[in-house]
């Protein structure tokens, strides 16, 4: 585990707090290379954060699956009927 304050000046004394803060941009692949490498180095060492990242990934998949509702076939027909007549 990285010593608090080592390397760069950070508002986070606990590296797990910082890891929690960057979890969403990390999973969205929105971190820059340096931030990503830092998060990965922490995750490689920290089971506590790793578990929570894996949980977040599963949660996102689950939310997407259960929120997907098929369109009623009658609606599709109604939409098709809105087309301009030839």
């Amino acid at each position: 585990m990285r010593a608090p304050g080592a390397g760069c000046v950070s508002a986070y004394l606990d590296p797990c707090d910082k890891c929690e803060e960057v979890m969403q941009p990390y999973l969205d692949r929105a971190l820059d290379e340096g931030e990503r490498a830092e998060a990965e180095a922490h995750l490689a060492d920290c089971g506590y954060c790793r578990k929570r990242y894996r949980f977040e990934e599963s949660l996102r998949v689950f939310v997407r699956q259960v929120c997907a509702e098929e369109m009623p076939p009658e609606l599709k027909q109604k939409l098709a009927a809105l087309r301009t007549p030839l």
């Binding site: 929690e20 803060e21 979890m23 969403q24 941009p25 969205d28 929105a30 578990k51 929570r52 894996r54 949980f55 977040e56 599963s58 949660l59 996102r60 689950f62 939310v63 997407r64 259960v66 929120c67 997907a68 509702e69 098929e70 369109m71 009623p72 609606l75 599709k76 109604k78 939409l79 098709a80 809105l82 087309r83 301009t84 030839l86």
Partner: protein, 193 residues
């Protein structure tokens, strides 16, 4: 007697072809558009009305769509504008902001409530039902939910969501992050009931 130029019928035929192609492409995307619409509003009936209004408007103004650009995003932009125009924004009390916990909050709650160790994957499925997720999502305030639904359910990029909602990309990111945290806060209550 013919005052029309010889190209006119050809132009008309080409335009009709383009229009038909546009309509077909828009209809092919309707399942995906519906999936987003259904979670932006509270009921199936509202989603169906919104879809019909959206497609009626899209078919009327098809010429303002630039071929080759993201048609799904274009349709969703019409849909979200219509949804906002319906006045649903008035329903929200502007000062009501739900409490927002950190990103580990839900997992911590589940871990606290579990007697035996749970795997990260099982923790979600065992503790939460479809109804839990759907009702938690509907409790997320509209501004946050719109972004959450577009990105996490509609699979739009931050950039697309920014264009659809006509807000800066930084606002998309902050609303998305806060929206997810609010959602997890809502889910935490249900997961440990």
């Amino acid at each position: 007697m013919s005052e029309t130029t010889p190209t006119e019928p050809r132009q008309l035929a080409a335009e009709a072809r383009d229009r038909v192609r546009f309509e077909e492409e828009a209809l092919e995307l309707s399942d995906q558009v519906y999936r987003v619409a259904r979670r932006l509003v509270g009921s199936r009936e509202e989603a169906e009305d919104l879809m019909q209004e959206t497609y009626a408007r899209a078919f009327r103004s098809w010429q303002s769509y630039t071929p080759g650009t993201n048609l799904r995003a274009w349709l969703l932009r019409i849909l979200t504008n219509l949804n906002i125009d319906r006045g649903r924004r008035k329903q929200r009390a502007p000062d009501m902001q739900p409490l927002e916990e950190g990103d580990y909050f839900l997992y911590n709650k589940i871990e606290e409530a579990s007697r035996e160790p749970v795997s990260e994957q099982d923790a979600v499925v065992e503790r939460l039902s479809q109804d839990d997720v759907v009702s938690a999502l509907s409790a997320v305030p509209h501004d946050f939910r719109d972004v959450l639904v577009l990105v996490d359910i509609g699979d739009f990029t931050y950039q697309d969501a920014a264009q659809i909602l006509d807000i800066p990309i930084g606002t998309v990111m902050s609303r998305l992050h806060r929206g997810r945290r609010i959602l997890k806060g809502e889910l935490a209550d249900k997961a440990v009931e």
